[in-house]
Amino acid sequence: MMSKLKFIIADKSFLVRRGLVCTIEEFESFEVVRELDNEKSLFKAIAKLSPDFVIINLNFYKSLRLKEFNSLTKKNKTKIIKLIDKNKDDVFFNETDYYIDINDSKSNIINQIKDITEQFLKSEKTSKNSILSNREKDVLRHIALGLTNKEVADKLFISIHTVVSHRKNITKKLDIHTVSGLTIYAILNKIIDIESSKS
């Protein structure tokens, strides 16, 4: 049996919070573990409950001490879903950002939440499989030898974007974050040899 995905709802408005709680709790596999309206309880709740998602009002989000908030959510593997108002908020989103538009219809909002959580579950699955694909090994070999993303891209005839996404996956799978760490991993696993790493 899978455990429920945990949500925290952060918004200044009581009515908005209640609306979100009801919507989220329509899903059997979701659970709202806390709703709150201020920074202090938000930080505390994330540290204590390490939820899978925080749904947070964009303006509230902007008012936070972001550096700390981001490192806290990173540490607790909490994903941030921003609650925006497309009519008012003038925002430009990265593809990687998750958001819900407050003006959307019920079915749109539900689909949006489904999409987000499915992506999340998929990424959980892949990260559990820590064996590198052959292509990832190729990329790792070049990174370990000290090539830049651009150089790796040219060598393997792929776009920089692809190199970056391979790197992200490698780091995620191995839980090794620095280039020198990756180099040692590559040597330990005979992806490169010590002699070539020195050049």
Partner: protein
């Protein structure tokens, strides 16, 4: 949470990692049944500051809950400097020594252990640069700010400095030096193939965990206690002496 009326000895029973922190305050063991406050008074340590440090190292959300008003930047900086000294003089050499022992006690994997040793050296150098920057630039700056704030007098040099560099810049550039440490732990736990030696491999890891925790606690004192205090004092000085910051924040 620890309070001033608890027995000092009980703090250590609850969290033995406080041992090195208590020594940093210059408090030796052997305090019998004295309370935290009594021991702090004996050694002229500010009890509130002491409690803030030991609590923050023991309870993760401590700094988000509490106001810190009872102690000065002078005492914070003096503690932070002692922490740096602990890294330089004690835990870093200990880890180097343990990795060397691991190397000497391994029959296989010698070359690989050597790699890890070099990797730790790289980390050490990063740490030293980080420490040096704080000792040479950041700490003198925050001490000057506190002095100016208290005396309501500001030197020309400090005025100039404030125009170019404030504590906000420090927070922005305050770099993560923990990544390498995390990598080293994973390399030893997951990726270095089995070694004939267990003893030193485990000991290295335990020390790395200790160092990592200490470095994290150290940064959170800087970011959550020192920086906010300085931020308020700076704001006062900016308006009191009508100083205008040169670079424009793009917030």
């Amino acid at each position: 949470m620890f309070t001033k009326d608890m027995k000092m000895a009980d703090l250590i029973h609850k969290n033995y990692l406080l041992l090195s922190i208590i020594s940093r305050f210059g408090i030796p063991l052997g305090f019998g049944d004295k309370s935290v406050e009594e021991v702090c008074n004996d050694y002229k340590v500010n009890t509130y500051f002491f409690l803030d440090i030991v609590n923050s190292c023991s309870y993760e959300s401590y700094f988000t809950d509490v106001q810190h008003k009872h102690f000065s930047i002078v005492s914070i900086v003096s503690y932070l400097r002692k922490t740096h000294k602990f890294y330089n003089d004690q835990i870093v050499p200990e880890i180097q020594c343990l990795i060397t022992n691991l190397y000497q006690n391994c029959f296989q994997q010698k070359d690989n252990v050597k790699l890890l040793f070099n990797f730790f050296e790289e980390y050490k150098n990063e740490l030293l640069i980080h420490i040096k920057r704080e000792e040479d630039i950041v700490y003198p700056y925050v001490l000057d700010i506190e002095k100016a704030y208290e005396t309501k007098k500001i030197s020309k040099e400090l005025t100039e400095q404030m125009k170019n560099y404030s504590i906000k810049d420090y927070l922005n550039e305050h770099s993560d030096i923990e990544e390498k440490l995390l990598d080293l732990k994973n390399l030893i736990i997951k990726y270095l193939p089995p070694t004939s030696d267990f003893k030193y491999r485990n000991k290295v890891l335990v020390k790395l965990f200790q160092l990592e925790k200490d470095v994290n606690d150290h940064s959170s004192i800087e970011e959550k206690v020192m920086a906010p205090k300085i931020f308020d004092m700076e704001n006062f000085l900016f308006s009191h002496f009508s100083i205008v910051k040169l670079n424009i924040d793009d917030e």
